[in-house]
Every structure is written in structure tokens, then in C-alpha cells.
């Protein structure tokens, strides 16, 4: 019952985020409806950084405790983070086409997001080919910690070498409300996805353990 209530809450928050972006936020004067991409772009961009940091934390805790639960958390964060990073690039590119007249610009923040996406992809690809779960966890943890060191560079690169990317654009109060609703709604939704994947990995591990015990 608690699970169903949780799922309903996630659905309500997600629908609220979409409705706020579509109807509550006013149409921007220069970009028109294309500006509404911001209400998706910012939440997914925020979540991909959050997922990357979660991967780093899970990696560190795994190396300290050697408990595969943390590696399952790592894998769930990596998969949802990869999805969000890809969505950040796609929505950012669509927005850039309307705002700057080009699909892509080597702006520091765009470049760093692309690097993060490449690291996410590399880590997932490398892990997928390793059979031993503890070795897989160790490789993922080391790579994620190295990758997490790249995250502060997103901030540093933008602050030091401010490119075309807007840092804190002007927004009306209703735009701010729509953005905040989007950040909350999408964050809860992606956390829900990550939790589902985590539980699936735990169950999978449980089945494998059971099989090992029956065979051994």
C-alpha cells in the first residue's frame, strides 16, 4: 500500500512539473515556446550531476565496506545519470538551436557535460564486460571517483571562462515557480527510477546467491 501511495505521489509531482512548464510559465518574448525546454533541461542537468556524485559516494563506500549493495546503488545511479546526461545534451542542443542559431557550441559547460556523458558511457561499457561482481565494483568505483573529480570542473570552467551559456538568466516569479516544480518533480521521478533499478539489482543478486547455495 505504501508503495502504491509513493508511486501516485511521484506521478502527481511529475504531472505537476509538466503542467507548470506548459501552462503556468508565461511564453518568453524572444524565444517563444522553445524557452519551455529550460524547465526540463535544468532538472535533468541537475540530476545528472547529482547521479555522478552519488556514483562517487557509492564507489568510496564500496571500497571501504566491500558490500555489493553499494555497487548496486552505483549501477542504478550510473544508468539513470547516463540517461539524464543524454537528455541534458539533447534538450540543450534543441534550446541552443533556437537561442543561438546553432545545434552545438563549444561552450565550457556544454563541453564538460559532453565529457561527463562520455565518462558515464565508458564506465558503463567497461563494467558490462566484467564477470566477477567485486572486480566490477572496484573498477567502477575507481573510475567513478576519477570521474567525480571532473564535476567541480563544470563549475570552475563556467565561472572562470564564462562562455555563451547563461549562468543565472532573468526570470519572472511564475517562471521560477515552474522551474522549481520541474526540479522537484523530475528529481523525485528519477530517484524513483533509480530506486526501482536498485531493487531489481538486489533481487537479481539474491537469486544468484540462492542458486549458488543450491548448487554448492
Amino acid at each position: 500500500m505504501r508503495r502504491v501511495i509513493g508511486e501516485v505521489c511521484v506521478a502527481v509531482l511529475l504531472v505537476a512539473a509538466i503542467l507548470a512548464a506548459s501552462f503556468l510559465a508565461p511564453t518568453e518574448s524572444t524565444m517563444g515556446h522553445a524557452q519551455r525546454l529550460v524547465y526540463i533541461h535544468v532538472p535533468v542537468a541537475w540530476f545528472d550531476l547529482l547521479a555522478f556524485l552519488a556514483m562517487g559516494v557509492c564507489g568510496i563506500v564500496y571500497l571501504a565496506r566491500r558490500d555489493l549493495k553499494w555497487d548496486h546503488g552505483f549501477q542504478a545511479a550510473a544508468e539513470v545519470g547516463w540517461l539524464c546526461c543524454g537528455l541534458t545534451l539533447v534538450t540543450g542542443s534543441l534550446w541552443a538551436h533556437e537561442a543561438w542559431g546553432t545545434w552545438w557550441e563549444w561552450d565550457p559547460r556544454l563541453t564538460t557535460t559532453f565529457i561527463l556523458w562520455a565518462i558515464y558511457s565508458g564506465v558503463l561499457l567497461v563494467r558490462s564486460g566484467i564477470e566477477d561482481p567485486h572486480h566490477r565494483a572496484r573498477v567502477g568505483a575507481v573510475l567513478a571517483i576519477l570521474g567525480a573529480l571532473d564535476v567541480p570542473l563544470v563549475i570552475v570552467a563556467t565561472r572562470w571562462f564564462r562562455g555563451m551559456h547563461p549562468v543565472a538568466p532573468e526570470m519572472t516569479p511564475s517562471m521560477r515557480v515552474a522551474l522549481l516544480t520541474g526540479v522537484v518533480g523530475f528529481t523525485v521521478f528519477f530517484l524513483f527510477l533509480a530506486r526501482g533499478r536498485y531493487e531489481q539489482l538486489e533481487s537479481e543478486n539474491g537469486v544468484l546467491e540462492l542458486r549458488r547455495q543450491m548448487e554448492g
Binding site: 562520455a118 565518462i119 565508458g122 561499457l125 572486480h135 572496484r138 571517483i145 573529480l149 570542473l153 572562470w160
Partner: protein, 244 residues
């Protein structure tokens, strides 16, 4: 302080000094072993240097541009060639340790994993510097630009740009030992090293345009920061990399 007190203080500090001396000796032993092994077998460096030359030539074929345009793109192409050829080095860095239980012997050394990492990193950084020493003049010759006026800044950029990719490559190479995943792990090295590539390319472009101003200095600081962060991370993480 009396002479007796001095001798007594020195005696008390002796275990720590002995420990640091042992680490330094272990460090030099591994560096020496790897350099001698490479000098005798010539298995890694010649292939890396040749790959660098070939990539540089292929890039230069496309550089039928005005001198100003060449100055703008030379940095990017140069560092791309260095990093691309460097991946062949990282791929092989720990591969030799697989033979005859060398890795096990390396782990038995009473020096700690951090020292082993620093020694391996030093050898890889030296290899990258050798590659840069070859490719920088080569690119200038092929693009018909003067190297003499920019030699100082370029040397500084080369010294600062080498440790970070070498550190990442050494760590990743250690992860790949015995897994047959070297090719795939290179996929991770390049994205991790891209920020260094961008900073080095930007620094080189500004140096070639004789704009050694505050912006150049910032990019240079970023290169230094990358070097410190990745070398420190490598020293801390290497223990987990070679534990098998």
C-alpha cells in the same frame, strides 16, 4: 643542543628516515627497471612515437592554411596527436607485469602501492615528454611556423600537461591487468583526459598568438590543478587497483 642530544634525536628519527629512504630506493628501482626493460625490448616507446609521427603527418596534410589559421588550430592538433599516441603507451604500461608473475613480485616490494604508482607514473610521464619532444618540433616544421619564439611557454605547457594524463593512464592500465579489457579502458582514459587536452590546446594557441596574458596564466593554472588532483587521486586509489 649538545652533541649527545643531537645523536640521540637522530637515532629516534631513524625509523622514519629509514622508511622514507626505503620508499625512495623502491621508487628508483621500479623506474630504473621499467626504463632498462624498455631500452632492451623496445616494445612500447618506438610504437608510440611512430603512431605520433603518423598521426601528426595525417593532420598536417589537412593544414593548407594561412599562418594565422595554423596558429589557431596547431595546439589542438598537436595535443590530440600526443594524447592519441599516448593511449598506446597506457595500454601497455602494466601489460608487461602480467608475464612471469611480475605483478605479484611488485606487490611484495616493501614500498606501498602509492610508491609503485608514482614510479609507474614517472615512467609514463617521461614517455609522454619524449613524445612531446618529438611531436612539437615536427608540427612546427610541417606547418612552417617558428618554434624558437615560443619554446619557453611550450616547454612549460608540456611539463604541466603530462602528469595528469599519465596518472589517469597508469591507474586505468592497472585496472586492465589480467582482464583483457585494455582496449575498452582506453575509452575511459580519453574522456577523463579531455579537460587537460582542452586546457593544453588553449594554452598553446594563446602562446602561439603571443598572448601570454592573464587568460593564458589561468589555463596554465588549470593544467597545474589537473596534475595535482589526478596524481594525488592516483596515489590514494592505486591500493585498490592492484589488490588482486
Amino acid at each position: 643542543m649538545t652533541r649527545v642530544a643531537k645523536i640521540s634525536a637522530c637515532w629516534r628519527e631513524w625509523p622514519e628516515r629509514r622508511e622514507s629512504l626505503r620508499r625512495m630506493a623502491g621508487f628508483w628501482w621500479i623506474v630504473h627497471k621499467d626504463l632498462v626493460s624498455e631500452f632492451r625490448s623496445r616494445r612500447v616507446w618506438p610504437a608510440m612515437l611512430l603512431l605520433g609521427i603518423v598521426v601528426a603527418l595525417l593532420f598536417s596534410i589537412q593544414m593548407n592554411l594561412l599562418p594565422e589559421q595554423k596558429r589557431q588550430i596547431l595546439g589542438g592538433l598537436l595535443w590530440l596527436s600526443v594524447f592519441f599516441a599516448g593511449t598506446s603507451l597506457f595500454d601497455r604500461s602494466f601489460a608487461l607485469e602480467r608475464e612471469d608473475g611480475c605483478q605479484g613480485a611488485l606487490q611484495l616490494l616493501p614500498v606501498g602501492p602509492g610508491t609503485v604508482f608514482l614510479a609507474k607514473l614517472t615512467v609514463n610521464a617521461l614517455a609522454l615528454l619524449a613524445l612531446e619532444g618529438l611531436l612539437i618540433p615536427l608540427f612546427f616544421i610541417l606547418s612552417d611556423l617558428s618554434l624558437g619564439a615560443h619554446a619557453g611557454p611550450l616547454l612549460l605547457i608540456a611539463v604541466l600537461a603530462s602528469p595528469a594524463p599519465a596518472a589517469v593512464g597508469t591507474l586505468v592500465s592497472g585496472l586492465a591487468v589480467g582482464q583483457g579489457r585494455g582496449g575498452l579502458l582506453v575509452l575511459v582514459v580519453l574522456p577523463l583526459a579531455v579537460p587537460v587536452l582542452l586546457a593544453a590546446a588553449e594554452c598553446t594557441r594563446l602562446a602561439l598568438e603571443s598572448r601570454l596574458d592573464e587568460v593564458w596564466w589561468r589555463w596554465l593554472q588549470l593544467l597545474g590543478a589537473f596534475a595535482v588532483i589526478f596524481v594525488a587521486a592516483g596515489v590514494l586509489l592505486f591500493e585498490y587497483v592492484i589488490e588482486d
